[in-house]
Symmetry: C2
Subunit: 208 residues, 2 copies
């Protein structure tokens, strides 16, 4: 009987293509392909249902933003999360995106410390790489939103000072901190398709 059991067990496992792989391998046979698909599927979403996003999802997106590369590992980023849409008209006065912000219900102001600690002193000195770090951090946030099934759009802040001077004041940012950009994020309303922006003629080999 024992022999019969193992014979049939083996047969069943072959028939069902079932293996003894650990669970996490079953979770995702090709995680890399899924990550690349997510990059290709990210799109700007400007229309939302108005449903609030969960605290867990917000934390995941902010963790992704803080996982970005940073020149000299300065990590110049900070984040102001805004969920009271009744204040958006004041905070973002004069910004043509305020309707999008209200539709999303949540805006994350990606902030940049434009200075860094001078080595061996208390003095703060300019950091010439903060804008690059914030660009990468913003993209990580947007990709995490896509991965969570949320919709988001990057709206420009810096260098459009007329758009961010009042934001800086309204949010009480320190003197050395700038609002780099504003991300509207929420639950997408309807279908949004990514643009196909691949252009082979942008690729050069060895020389321009």
């Amino acid at each position: 009987m024992r022999k019969t059991f193992f014979a049939i067990a083996a047969a069943v496992m072959i028939m069902t293509g079932c293996s003894q792989k650990p669970a996490q391998e079953h979770d995702c046979a090709n995680k890399g392909a899924a990550a690349i698909e997510n990059i290709m599927n990210r799109k700007s979403v400007r229309s939302f249902t108005g449903e609030a996003i969960s605290e867990e999802d917000m934390t995941t997106m902010l963790k992704a933003a803080m996982a970005a590369p940073s020149g000299m590992n300065i990590q110049p980023w900070s984040f102001v999360v805004l969920t009271d849409a009744s204040k958006f008209d004041d905070i973002f006065q004069g910004n043509f995106n305020v309707g999008t912000f209200k539709s999303a219900g949540t805006v994350v102001v990606m902030c940049a410390d434009t200075t860094t600690q001078s080595r061996g002193s208390e003095e703060r000195v300019p950091n010439s790489m903060w804008r690059d770090d914030l660009g990468a951090s913003t993209e990580n946030f947007l990709l995490a939103a896509e991965a969570l099934g949320l919709g988001a759009v990057w709206t420009a802040g810096y260098p459009f000072m007329e758009r961010i001077e009042h934001v800086k004041e309204a949010l009480g940012l320190p003197a050395e901190v700038l609002p780099y950009c504003m991300i509207a994020v929420g639950h997408p309303d309807g279908e949004n398709q990514p643009k196909d922006k691949f252009k082979a003629d942008r690729i050069h080999y060895g020389k321009w």
Copy 2:
């Protein structure tokens, strides 16, 4: 006997956690989680085996780079792919990263057109958002490298003119195009761990 077979078959399928899920569900039970894991796992890799990367992988990384968001959809990016390490000493003279470049065997110079077409005229006018687009595009490239099991590191170009003036000349870039950064990419040598950069105190709600 038949009864025994099905009884044992059912037992085995339960014991082994085996299901009849369609193949695509087995491929990736949670693509979103895989995409977020890839963002969290990306790290700077500076040590490589020297093995060349495939044309297919390079195309995937460049497609990811071109899938980045772009202000006004200007898409200011272009890419110079360099695989002849014997030329790196000349092209990158004075750059302390040249050893890393030679170890990787491949360098992608992420280039930025600093101008854009003026509406309704042939004139080129400055684009004030190229640096933000290139930051996002560079991050997409690095995330695609991670997803492909490759290693890469972002090395600064702009605004360090002393590092990029000769690169611009050596690669024959047009006057309005700048080398934004240099990505060394190849097969990682040894284990590389991502930094945990999460800082809860960087997150503000409603106000700074």
